[in-house]
Symmetry: C2
Subunit: 345 residues, 2 copies
């Protein structure tokens, strides 16, 4: 490893001078600047980041805490974060909270659950990251993070509490877009298959659904509300109930693609033609949406952008700058495929 010392000797100057020309923090004579640069070029020297960080108190590294890297939106977000970091010469330390779900489901282990999260945070702090991004879907985890931690912290995807920094997406508008799209295609009897009743996205998307119906002066029908648990089988099963309805809807807004996949497969198994007999719109634009027997029209969440923007916000904060908004809500957009038919006469 070549160090400042080596360069200094080679160029016949002090290490301070070398440091100064590298960082451009002081005017040196053209002559010596040149000699030093030549020496650097000769040895393909690169400053020792640890030493630099130790001295400067900044690591140019941020910590990324993810609930489970294997989930699609998470990986997309991380990808977006990466892109921004790379542009700014930062690096990321990734920490996966893969034990989280397991611990959460063991009721006697709430304490372990809390300490698990905080150990991960502490571990990041020990690495002297300049900031942390928490990437997660489950708002319930967030309360368990002990704040403040002394360095900038931003939530990506999940909303933080009121005073936190976060960047997320617009669930309400997204749902409205979906429902408006159905309405635009002539549907007036629209059912909804919601996610888990307790979850935050369920509430928001529900709000969008109702708002859209109201705007269009469409009635809110109790018998058109169905609930699942975000998973495929619940979509598959609930579809049977929907089909058993005396007044079958012409379209259904399903709150995520996994359940929508269940719906489509279930409906086809019952001999229904999608979208002729029933239109379906999903949410999330997961990979699976393109690969269903009938490609799913759905709402795309801007995952990469969420990652990108959260990193941007975090870096602003680490540089000590204030940030214009401490919450950014990005818009979704609708991906038109083949699962919605027009029933305008």
């Amino acid at each position: 490893m070549t160090t400042l010392k080596d360069i200094a000797k080679l160029a016949g100057v002090s290490i301070a001078s070398v440091s100064y020309v590298i960082n451009g923090n002081k005017q040196l004579s053209e002559e010596t600047t040149k000699r030093i640069n030549e020496a650097i070029a000769q040895t393909n020297f690169t400053p020792h980041s640890l030493a630099k960080s130790l001295r400067m108190g900044k690591t140019l590294t941020i910590g990324v805490l993810v609930e489970d890297i294997r989930g699609m939106p998470i990986a997309d977000i991380v990808n977006g974060i990466e892109e921004n970091l790379e542009e700014h010469g930062y690096q990321m330390i990734l920490s996966d909270l893969h034990m989280l779900e397991k611990l959460y489901n063991q009721y006697d282990q709430i304490a372990d659950y809390k300490t698990y999260i905080n150990n991960s945070v502490q571990q990041m702090l020990r690495s002297h990251v300049d900031g942390i991004i928490y990437v997660g879907l489950h708002d319930r985890h967030i309360d368990n993070i002990i704040n403040p931690i002394g360095i900038p912290f931003v939530y990506a995807y999940s909303h933080g509490s009121k005073h936190d920094h976060y960047v997320s997406y617009n669930n309400i508008d997204g749902a409205m877009d979906a429902v408006n799209y159905l309405i635009k295609h002539g549907h007036r009897e629209i059912a909804i298959l919601a996610g888990h009743p307790d979850s935050f996205p369920t509430h928001q998307r529900m709000e969008g659904f109702i708002t859209s119906l109201n705007h269009a002066d469409l009635p809110i029908r109790d018998d058109y509300f169905f609930y699942g648990d975000w998973e495929y089988p619940s979509g598959f099963e609930q579809m049977k109930n929907i089909l058993a309805l005396p007044n079958r809807p012409t379209a259904i807004f399903v709150m995520n693609d996994l359940m929508a996949a269940g719906c489509i497969n279930s409906a086809q198994e019952s001999g229904l033609k999608i979208p002729l007999d029933l239109s379906i719109i999903g949410f999330d634009n997961r990979e699976i949406a393109s690969y269903l027997p009938v490609p799913l029209t759905t709402i795309q969440v801007p995952n990469r952008e969420i990652g990108y923007e959260s990193a941007k916000m975090l870096l602003e904060l680490t540089e000590g700058n204030t940030v214009e908004y401490n919450a950014i809500i990005l818009p979704c957009n609708l991906i038109e495929r083949a699962s919605v038919a027009s029933i305008l006469s």
Copy 2:
């Protein structure tokens, strides 16, 4: 931030003593040990990792270079790596080569492509990681990594060249398991839908296919060979050709789940009943396999284990130990679902 110095003052000893009791590198009297430990407990002191790393020349951090974190097998592998690292108190710096595909497809940019990869490697080296794991599917990328780099390097998933360290999975046996499973269920006319003809997995899985047929004394029929490009549409299209065959096979071994999904949807669209009219077996066990109209029987690649074992191997190497095998090939296993029917009379 509390430092050794603070602890030392608090306990009335030198910083050396504090360091010694923390690391247990020297016997100190019970008395002072106790005083020091108390001081540490009081201040919840934790040693400054940068300073430690600088002094010791070890960062307890490894670099993970991924082709694209958004791909499923990659994320699974990273998850496995994480698990092992966590057990050993290591951390990972993640670097995503998300520009790789784009650069690869621009023929005039081969040079950029090469430097892109090596810049990423150099960037890791600048962070003084103790080792690097390359997680990738595409063997073609690997040649572009300039080796040796002076620190341990292991490939996960993709095979390296003959002398490299890598951990991968057994394509040949996996394919044989798939085909043997079909044979066991009475199939004698088995077609194959292969991946991209140039790719390494295609060759290996093909070898498994042929070996299995030979073992069972089944003929190798030229008209039963089909090629796709690993993507869904190629499965969808090729299925039409398969169905147009004068002597339609009773089963088909599809080299990945994405193409298999295309096959299933295509077949159903043509009015075929899967698996009654045609059995299909896939490879990869991607998420989609469970969510198809007919759940796909397929071969599971042990992705998390690949990650786990590659990390294990790398850590061995970074500790300066020799490693028993410098290549580990893990077995796949078959996931039985509903896309293969028995046609034993």
